[in-house]
């Protein structure tokens, strides 16, 4: 089997203590929560931290305070805890659906919300063993010079593959970052960078401690994920959509986010704006779909053919908006996602 390299393992009891360790160790230390992303990467020698700083013993990072006006979620909530909690299903279904569709039940038992939003970007030329990457003389993301997806690209084109990131962005989430120098709050959208290598604006010494959501009252949200199978797979395209409707079905606020189509989740601002003060009639949906799908420029570095993924983007935006409108989309969900995670609220 593939073996982990050797490393030191630290188990601080408070966020402040964890931040102190990170500050002292410098960039050779990394934060570990569930480890479902980091440990396989370490086996492949994609990351070889000298020290791992575990968040598992820190109390207070696993809480979920949900309220119609303001909610706060601890970064160490496991995805299984979110998937099993009816408050998420009823209050912010996009997040609930996204968490429920990550990987497998075993992985959701370990994986955390903070870990999933900070998930390493993925690429077929990068998510390989050290020996395999040696056979292609490595790539721009790690140890090499060339981006094998786009040979002349000045930057790494690895793909943002987080499920909960787009869902939380559609819900307007903000994140709290802790370091030895203090605390700061940024929108989740601002946490991401469209660069496969430097994909987060988080500094190496910062810890994502909490995720904050604004008012949920009146909002409906949904998450659509493209993957080959009904389990295991990372998204190779996703659409998260959320809208606040008036009592007679007019859109008052809306957000659409396209995931796994670039090195960061893409906010489809123009598409969302086109929905405002309108009912989700077919032509309104079509207009928004065209605007949103324009953003997606998939490349040949994930599962499935890239031009097909582009085509599916518009289909998924349509499905998502129809579901927000209140159409029963269970048959489509089963057919295209093999998933029972349904229901919008």
């Amino acid at each position: 089997m593939m073996r982990l390299p050797l490393f030191d393992y630290r188990t601080p009891r408070t966020v402040a203590e964890a931040a102190q360790i990170l500050d002292g160790e410098g960039p050779e230390a990394m934060v570990i929560a569930g480890g479902t992303d980091l440990l396989p990467n370490m086996k492949r020698r994609q990351q070889t931290p000298r020290t791992l700083v575990s968040l598992r013993r820190i109390e207070g990072l696993s809480g979920a305070h949900l309220d119609h006006s303001a909610s706060q979620l601890g970064s160490c909530l496991t995805l299984a805890e979110i998937a099993e909690d009816p408050r998420f299903r009823n209050g912010c279904s996009a997040l609930w659906q996204a968490a429920s569709m990550v990987a497998t039940p075993h992985i959701r038992n370990m994986a955390t919300l903070g870990g999933n939003i900070c998930l390493d970007t993925r690429c077929m030329f990068y998510d390989q063993s050290y020996e395999w990457r040696q056979a292609i003389n490595f790539c721009k993301k790690k140890d090499g010079e060339t981006c094998w997806v786009a040979n002349s690209s000045p930057r790494c084109m690895a793909v943002s593959s987080t499920d909960t990131g787009p869902a939380l962005m559609a819900l307007g989430a903000r994140v709290i970052l802790h370091s030895a120098r203090g605390e700061r709050e940024v929108t989740l959208a601002d946490l991401y960078n469209n660069d496969g290598r430097e994909y987060l604006t988080r500094r190496p010494d910062e810890i994502v401690s909490d995720i904050r959501l604004g008012p949920l009252h009146g909002w409906r949200s949904t998450y659509w994920k493209l993957r080959r199978r009904g389990s295991f797979d990372f998204p190779v395209l996703s659409v998260a959509a959320a809208a606040r409707f008036s009592h007679d079905g007019v859109v008052e606020e809306a957000r659409i986010v396209v995931g796994s189509a670039a090195s960061r989740p893409l906010v489809a601002e123009e598409a969302a704006r086109s929905l405002l003060n309108r009912r989700l009639e077919p032509e309104v949906i079509e207009e928004a779909t065209t605007l949103a799908a324009r953003l997606a420029k998939p490349l040949d570095n994930t599962d499935f053919d890239m031009s097909w993924r582009k085509k599916v983007t518009s289909q998924f935006v349509t499905y998502a908006l129809r579901e927000l409108r209140g159409d029963d989309m269970r048959a489509e969900r089963t057919r295209v996602m093999h998933s029972q995670a349904d229901g919008v609220s």
Binding site: M1, R3, L6, A135, S231, D233, F304, W308, Q315, R335
Partner: protein
């Protein structure tokens, strides 16, 4: 016992985690081995410097190709592998050196200290490149350039057959390669025992063939080598070759006097491969208006990868069984296997036959549509009959194909669904045939293919020694059940020792669906011999004629007066007192197949053939092309279900594997822009990215056995572990056509391909996705064999010019 659903004998160990797989073995003083594998797809090895690795703390030994220079290969005609590459690497992942160290991590670290100087060679990625580039040759012994092997047969005047046809159909299909993906990665532990002899514990399906190869490569008498096939966590054909690592740890253990272990990573298992050959096939079939086939011509271009493996056999199987489902009066088959710089292909469940079966069954669906005949009805009209001798002289026995079709049509509601479901929903039907054990061994000999020994003693324990390999299919249980049935005891009164070349008699291995029939018949013979001895002793004691004795309920009694009885244990004691220690043997050699006398006619012969029919119902999303399999019905003619639970497991496992191949599995490779790199790498050698279906993607399955005992099968049984896979892929293709009206002439049938075919349909062009050309090549003059109905006697009437043959190495036979 027989015919009843029972808990299998090895179930407890497996569900409680007590079964010891090769990777679970840990012995005192054990060292670990890691292999350095080539990062280049094709290169000459100029030199290897191992000095830094050898000096690394904790390293015991470093081996390279020159330490193990003798060649091996599973087939006598393809002895083209060495444990470590001597002067050339032929694919990424080809092993060039081994480090044996105190810790696995140490061995891995030391690999990076080995310096190999490579001279990069041009690479060949597929058969068309191989045709265009006869040089450099990947192997010097290939038939011509990079063509490894060609076969060509003509049974009857095919051109005349086409002239008699009302319609001629020509279709080209491509079946992508895929791999076995067993849950258990290959692992081995080699031990030099107290006497200095070698024991190798390893996850293999063929301990006997490995035993022979070890003897050859290590230059040790086979009698001084013991191979123990540990319980195998899945094989599917992927553990049927002798593998590099097995020789390396054996050599290291002999040199070091320590146990040496290796556990392959999943990526390394992808490089061992031996999976499904990619095949590009052209089918030309002539039919009468009523569907009667007048002639068929199949050409098959086969991508073999970097070594021979079973490839010569696969090349025959790529066309041999086309005659065993429908009556084909005239048949021409031309197949060619090519060497390419990729891990070698070999046998995977269905060995060489699923690919042409796919093409044939999809083409039959097209023929039925054109002739306006229901596809089930067409198949019934042309189905082979029991005891038919086919055009290529395969002697069929029991044939349940008609019943399979009739039943699958009935249980699936076919008549209410076919061409009647709403857009996006469809059903498809396909059939198949498979062997119950290959008629020939892979090396020529006149000895039995299977042997069984039984020991019975006064404790009441019946011990069964078999050379068979339990690879999860349930062979230990099936053998115990047959012995228990004969002796009137329970399977749990029997202890089975299998897969150990020291303990059990020779069995050729768990491949070609041969174990139940061949080892089963041997087990019955051994049990009957023991029973006869016991009956004689008991008859004396009870003073009844031995013919009246019955063995049942762990007792032996007089059928006329059941109260006159002894217990089974007492019966053994009586026999032991009368005859001395009780041990019996049984063996099985397949019947001679006198029909096929032409060269190559032995491939495809089998004691018994099975038949399957499958209906698949699919749901296709017309916007995205995504397919969900809604339900699947399978009927399988297996002669008799010895343990219906096990048989059902084999059928459902086959369907699972077939659906993965149909919808997503691809052993696919990638090149990088040639101006920047010479890489030719496996696209995704990991379980996450090599896509196979999960339990959530599995449909409801309805399985029905068609039972009609075959006289050659033990208790009438035929195979059920491979045949049911074969119709799955074409049935899915035919169902997609029924659902959305497009033909996907290529496996796997991915949503991208469906969307493209739908776009073609919308544009008014042929509603199809599939290969659009077929390479021109010389196939050589075929061997002409007139079929039985043209007065043929199984002999060829011509002698094509002999291909220059590689000089076959003389097999060394070493005796202690």
């Amino acid at each position: 016992m027989i015919g009843h659903a029972r808990r299998r004998v090895d179930a407890r160990g497996k569900v409680t985690g007590q079964t010891i797989y090769a990777d679970d073995i840990s012995l005192p003083r054990m060292a670990y081995c890691k292999l350095l594998r080539s990062p280049h797809p094709h290169a000459r090895i100029r030199s290897i410097d191992t000095s830094r690795a050898l000096a690394h703390p904790g390293v015991y030994l470093v081996l390279t190709g020159k330490d193990l220079p003798i060649k091996y290969g599973i087939l006598p005609v393809s002895q083209d592998e060495t444990p470590l590459c001597v002067d050339r690497v032929r694919h990424v992942g080809d092993p060039v050196a081994a480090v044996i160290a105190r810790e696995e991590l140490t061995a891995a670290d030391a690999l990076e200290l080995i310096e190999v100087d490579y001279e990069i060679l041009p690479t060949i990625a597929d058969p068309e490149e191989a045709l265009a580039n006869p040089e450099p040759r990947i192997h010097d012994y290939s038939e011509e350039g990079n063509i490894h092997k060609r076969v060509a047969f003509e049974f009857g005047d095919v051109d005349k057959g086409f002239a008699e046809a009302d319609e001629i159909f020509e279709d080209t299909f491509f079946f992508q390669g895929n791999t076995h993906l067993p849950m258990e990665q290959h692992a081995s532990v080699a031990v030099r025992d107290r006497e200095g002899k070698l024991t190798l514990y390893t996850s293999t399906q063929t301990p006997h063939y490995l035993h022979r190869a070890l003897s050859k490569v290590l230059e040790m008498p086979a009698g001084h080598i013991r191979v123990v096939a540990t319980p195998c966590g899945g094989g599917f054909g992927g553990k049927s070759d002798p593998f590099n690592h097995e020789f390396v740890v054996s050599k290291a253990a002999l040199m070091l006097g320590r146990p040496v272990k290796i556990s392959l990573t999943r990526e390394e298992v992808f490089y061992c491969h031996r999976g499904r050959h990619p095949m590009l096939m052209k089918f030309r079939t002539g039919v009468k208006k009523d569907g009667t086939i007048t002639a068929m011509h199949l050409q098959n271009v086969i991508d073999g990868g970097a070594y021979g493996s079973y490839g010569v056999a696969s090349t025959f199987y790529g066309g041999t069984l086309q005659t065993t489902t429908y009556h084909i009066p005239k048949y021409r088959y031309q197949g060619a296997r090519f060497f390419t710089n990729k891990p070698p292909c070999g046998p995977k469940r269905g060995h060489g036959t699923p690919q042409p079966r796919f093409g044939q069954e999809v083409q039959i669906d097209k023929i039925a549509e054109k002739l306006k005949i229901d596809p089930a009805e067409l198949r019934l009209r042309i189905a082979v009959k029991p005891n038919e001798l086919t055009a290529n002289f395969l002697q069929l026995g029991t044939v349940g194909l008609e019943q399979c079709i009739r039943r699958v049509v009935a249980i699936s509601g076919w008549k209410d669904k076919f061409r009647k479901l709403p857009e996006g929903r469809g059903v498809g039907l396909a059939c198949s045939c498979y062997l119950t054990g290959a008629g020939l061994s892979i090396y020529w000999n006149a000895m039995p293919h299977s042997g069984i020994q039984l020991k019975l003693d006064r404790s009441g324990c019946v011990t069964l020694f078999a050379g068979t390999t339990e690879i999860g299919q349930g062979s230990d249980d099936v053998l115990a059940a047959m012995v228990a049935e004969v002796l009137g005891i329970k399977t749990f009164d029997i202890r089975v020792y299998s897969g150990d070349t020291d303990l059990g008699p020779v069995d050729l291995g768990s491949y070609s669906s041969r174990v139940t029939l061949m080892a089963g018949n041997a087990a019955i013979q051994a049990a009957e011999r023991a029973k006869a001895m016991m009956a004689e002793a008991v008859a004396d004691k009870l003073e009844v004629p031995k013919e009246r004795l019955r063995f049942a309920d762990s007792a032996v009694f007089d059928a006329a007066a059941p109260e006159k009885r002894v217990t089974f244990v007492e019966a053994i004691c009586l026999a032991e007192a009368r005859f001395g220690t009780i041990g019996t043997v049984g063996s099985y050699t397949p019947p001679k197949f006198p029909a096929a006398k032409y060269k190559g006619g032995g491939v495809g012969t089998s004691p018994a053939y099975t038949f399957s029919a499958t209906v698949v119902e699919v749901d296709v999303d017309t916007a995205t092309g995504l397919v969900r399999v809604a339900k699947l019905w399978n009927t399988h003619d297996l002669g008799r279900a010895l343990n219906p639970v096990l048989a059902r497991g084999q059928v459902e496992g086959s369907i699972y594997m077939g659906l993965g191949e149909a919808l997503m599995e691809e052993q696919d490779y990638r090149r990088l822009p040639s101006r920047l790199s010479h890489a030719l790498v496996h696209k995704f050698p990991s379980m996450l990215d090599y896509k196979t279906i999960t339990s959530l993607d599995m449909p409801e399955i309805v399985t029905e056995f068609i039972e009609g005992p075959d006289a050659r099968g033990p208790f009438g049984a035929k195979e059920c572990g491979q045949g049911p896979l074969l119709p799955v892929m074409p049935a899915v293709a035919n169902a997609i056509y029924d659902a959305v009206g497009v033909r996907i002439d290529e496996v796997p049938m991915t949503p991208e391909k469906i969307v493209r075919a739908l776009a073609e349909k919308k544009a008014g062009r042929a509603p199809r996705y599939g290969p659009d050309h077929f390479p021109e090549m010389s196939w050589g003059e075929p061997l002409r064999v007139p079929p039985p109905w043209d007065g043929g006697d199984g002999r060829a009437i011509n002698e094509p010019p002999r291909q220059p043959k590689p000089s076959r190495e003389k097999e060394k036979v070493l005796t202690p």
